[in-house]
């Protein structure tokens, strides 16, 4: 399944599963957004999310809950404009199966052009097809820009509270 889009920029792009060749650009986008370069982290994620044998089917119609992890990119030819990663998880913290968004990033110069919203829609569409009807994420309280983005997509505070303790 690949989704074609032409948003405000009139730039045409496709949302598809990430490939190994996309990872250097994903690393660069993440570094632009966070100021940190984490190549091993992103290579590991590709391996976990898109390269496992059990996940090696195409990004097509769900045959079962076989594909429940998604590492997607928005790409214009060879150029990666943004990425999103999510997975369906069940029964952690007592929660019935739901989709979790773990990471999202878009090139700085095309922020506000709708690429993030398209990636989010593409991921939630895949979650729905995987049989879940709830999507969650977790953010730092001070990450107001990204929190505003998720709220603009209709997300609100959920029923869980994250707690922690210094050890």
């Amino acid at each position: 399944m690949a989704n074609s889009h032409a948003r405000q920029t009139e730039r045409k792009y496709t949302v598809r599963l990430a490939k190994a060749a996309d990872i250097p650009q994903v690393i660069a986008i993440d570094a632009e957004n966070t100021g940190m370069t984490k190549p091993e982290y992103w290579e590991d994620l590709l391996d976990i999310y898109n390269n496992r044998v059990s996940d090696a089917d195409d990004d097509g119609q769900q045959k079962s809950v076989k594909r429940y992890r998604f590492f997607l990119v928005a790409s214009d030819g060879d150029s990666v404009l943004g990425f999103i990663i999510g997975e369906v998880r069940a029964w952690e913290f007592g929660s019935p199966p739901c989709g979790w968004v773990f990471a999202i990033g878009v090139r700085d110069q095309i922020r506000q052009d709708g690429v993030g919203a398209t990636l989010f829609e593409a991921l939630t569409e895949r979650f729905r097809k995987a049989g879940v009807n709830k999507v969650r994420t977790m953010l730092g309280r001070d990450a107001t820009v990204i929190m505003s983005f998720f709220r603009s997509q209709g997300m609100m505070a959920g029923p869980f509270i994250q707690l922690e303790k210094d050890l």
Partner: protein
């Protein structure tokens, strides 16, 4: 959590005006819809005007219109023009705060303040207007 009257007036007025880019409404029209005092609202609109969120339109059929950016302006931007939602973080102290019990109480209250700030800082007027539409 309860917001002060002036803050609520400001939020109602700004959501009403920001809902349409060319929307122009009088203080009377807004006050009537929300059942608030026109005089009170007029003062609030002047405060919003001073920071460039609304502008007065003169002449027949004049009123106010939104002049900010609804995708950039957050609830916190409006609220903090009228009140402080995190007084402890801002250093406000009360009797007993220096005791161990007072410090523990401040810690618990600050957790609530921080969550409130994060909520208000991440909800833009654009998101609020979408929420309003969903509640219609």
């Amino acid at each position: 959590m309860k917001l002060q009257k002036a803050t609520r007036c400001a939020l109602f007025a700004i959501m009403e005006l920001a809902a349409g880019p060319d929307r122009q409404l009088s203080a009377n029209e807004i006050a009537e819809k929300y059942g608030i005092s026109t005089n009170h609202l007029a003062k609030v609109l002047r405060s919003l005007g001073r920071v460039g969120l609304v502008e007065a339109v003169r002449g027949a059929g004049g009123g106010y219109r939104f002049s900010g950016n609804r995708r950039r302006t957050t609830l916190l931007d409006v609220i903090q023009l009228f009140e402080t939602i995190d007084p402890i973080r801002h250093g406000e102290r009360e009797d007993g705060d220096d005791t161990a019990e007072g410090k523990a109480l401040c810690q618990a209250l600050m957790e609530i303040e921080d969550t409130a700030r994060a909520t208000f800082a991440s909800i833009t007027l654009d998101t609020m207007i979408k929420l309003v539409d969903r509640n219609r």
